[in-house]
Symmetry: C2
Subunit: 328 residues, 2 copies
């Protein structure tokens, strides 16, 4: 099996690659080839015994996506995206990558399909940012696409393309609406949701963290480990039962910022909590308060997608996967 | 007031222009300038006393949309589209005009906004084809975007763009989800919905008509006169109350093909009905059976949008507007 990962240098892309390399198989088939692309050179994986190509390219530039498709991967994970905060600040860049890049990738696949009936499985990472206020407390699977950010708009447009390209037979597509990934390891990125991770990650490492929103803000979370699990599961199941509605909201944990802080307190103590400094930020609050608080996620759950069941568990996954099991 | 109509040579575009020329005003303001564009040269309107520019151009070609925006119209009616049947048969042309053309127009406006804070009212003609099966008998205003055609996908993507460009302050946008327009005058076009008009228009003119679907197919209709009324009303009301959800399903008449035929019988008699020949067409049936049957249309109704209230009325409007009040 040949797997391509578009956006392979990002946090999720690297974790997904590591897991594929470690497993050696996907859906019971041996992985013989990996094609890794990103706007920066993706890391190499010496532990992988099959053929590996890693290259830096921008899928929104003419011809670049065709290069990926020329190798006819069986599965394409499309993770490449300009994150929410950056897509809000840089309108052209957001539409360039998130809309035009996605369309260029799908178009390259369609043109290959016209040549030789190529039809890969495409796993598209969408986001719960396709939903915006007013929202019910628990959002049903068939809720209207109502984004309130350019990022959410671009992801919703990607979902629509994915469904149409699937319906036309060019791809076998599934859209995965990721919860906010928490706790993100490493440095903060430009996502407006970054603080949800920061207020856990930094105090666990003995560092100060900034909280730009009130404790009452409730949101929908899953760990990086769960995100990788969603992607692998999406590429492993029969997609026929999805019918024409190809994007699924993933399961997660609904937690308020206050509940996040309580979970931190129970695991790392008062000293960790005291490292959180409240600094209200109107731009972040305006983006985040239109965001979802909780989902039913019944379709995904019934198809076997699994996430954590408490915020304590999300913190423990971070300590296990990123801190070698020790708080430091 | 300066009004631009993109798609001014089409059936709705011509009727809209005729009405604007006849009225001389929109929302109480005198119309001093009309800019009419289409892929074919739009007709001239000698009765119009203001400045009139009519030109043939393709908005999806680089720079063409900027030419329209350079004249800074106060209101832009965006009617240009590849219809459903053609967008289904010609994938590239459909995306080229319906998605890229719409985006090019909005981008041209955004770039003008960056120059001088230009922010026109944009009336975008969407379609009830943004909704696809499984559908409830009466579709609520907040139903999920679930298109089952490339045309519906492109219109849904246009709605998302319209909302985002409005939210960012580049336009003051409203999306009008038109019912199937019935009775369309003139020759059949490539819309999959064409037969809904054909089975009325042809028999009223003493001509044979082909019916490709069963009598049980139920659908949502409004007259061309109502469509023009929706567009004028959309450009006349305060759009602030729409909030972030900028596209509205228009009111209409829910009628089955059987009910359409009964209305024809009551107005034009048995001889007219006998001109309808049943010729099942699987492609048309497959497209149409995923289509909506009826809508609540509460938001639009509460904002003052009005359509016919019976299919008899729709037929009478056709006889008045297209047949000088006489059958035959």
């Amino acid at each position: 099996m040949h797997i391509a990962i578009v956006g392979a240098a990002g946090m999720i892309g690297r974790k997904l690659t590591a897991r594929l390399v470690a497993d050696g198989t996907l859906a019971g088939q041996a992985i013989t080839r990996l094609t890794l692309v990103d706007v920066v050179e993706p890391p190499l994986w010496p532990a992988f015994s099959g053929k590996l190509d890693a290259s830096a390219l921008d899928i929104s530039e003419p011809g670049q996506a065709r290069g990926i498709v020329a190798t006819r991967p069986d599965v394409v994970f499309h993770l490449a995206a300009i994150v929410s905060g950056e897509a809000e600040l840089d309108f052209e860049k957001g539409y360039g990558i998130n809309l035009e890049g996605t369309r260029a990738l799908f178009e390259a696949i369609r043109l290959a399909h016209l040549e030789d009936s190529y039809r890969p499985c495409v796993v598209f990472t969408s986001s719960i940012a396709v939903f915006g206020a007013p929202l019910p407390d628990i959002i049903p699977d068939d809720f209207n696409l109502t984004p309130l950010t350019s990022y959410g708009t671009q992801k919703a447009m990607g979902e629509l393309l994915l469904a149409d390209y699937t319906r036309r037979g060019f791809i076998d597509g599934i859209g995965i609406r990721l919860p906010t990934i928490c706790v993100r390891p490493g440095k903060p990125n430009k996502a407006a949701s970054g603080f949800f991770s920061g207020i856990i990650r930094e105090p666990l490492a003995g560092q100060k963290a900034v909280l730009p929103v009130p404790d009452s803000i409730r949101h929908w979370h899953a760990s990086p480990r769960s995100a990788v699990g969603f992607l692998l599961h999406a590429a492993s199941i029969d997609l026929q039962p999805l019918g024409s509605r190809r994007s699924l909201t993933m399961p997660g944990v609904s937690a308020s910022v206050g509940e996040q802080i309580e979970a931190l307190r129970s695991i790392a103590g008062e000293a960790a909590v005291n490292l959180i400094r409240r600094e209200p930020d109107e731009l972040v609050l305006r983006i985040v308060e239109g965001w979802p608080r909780a989902f039913a996620a019944e379709r995904a759950t019934s198809l076997g997608f699994k996430a954590e069941t408490s915020f304590d568990e999300i913190i423990r996954v971070h300590i296990e996967d990123e801190m070698e099991g020790r708080i430091g």
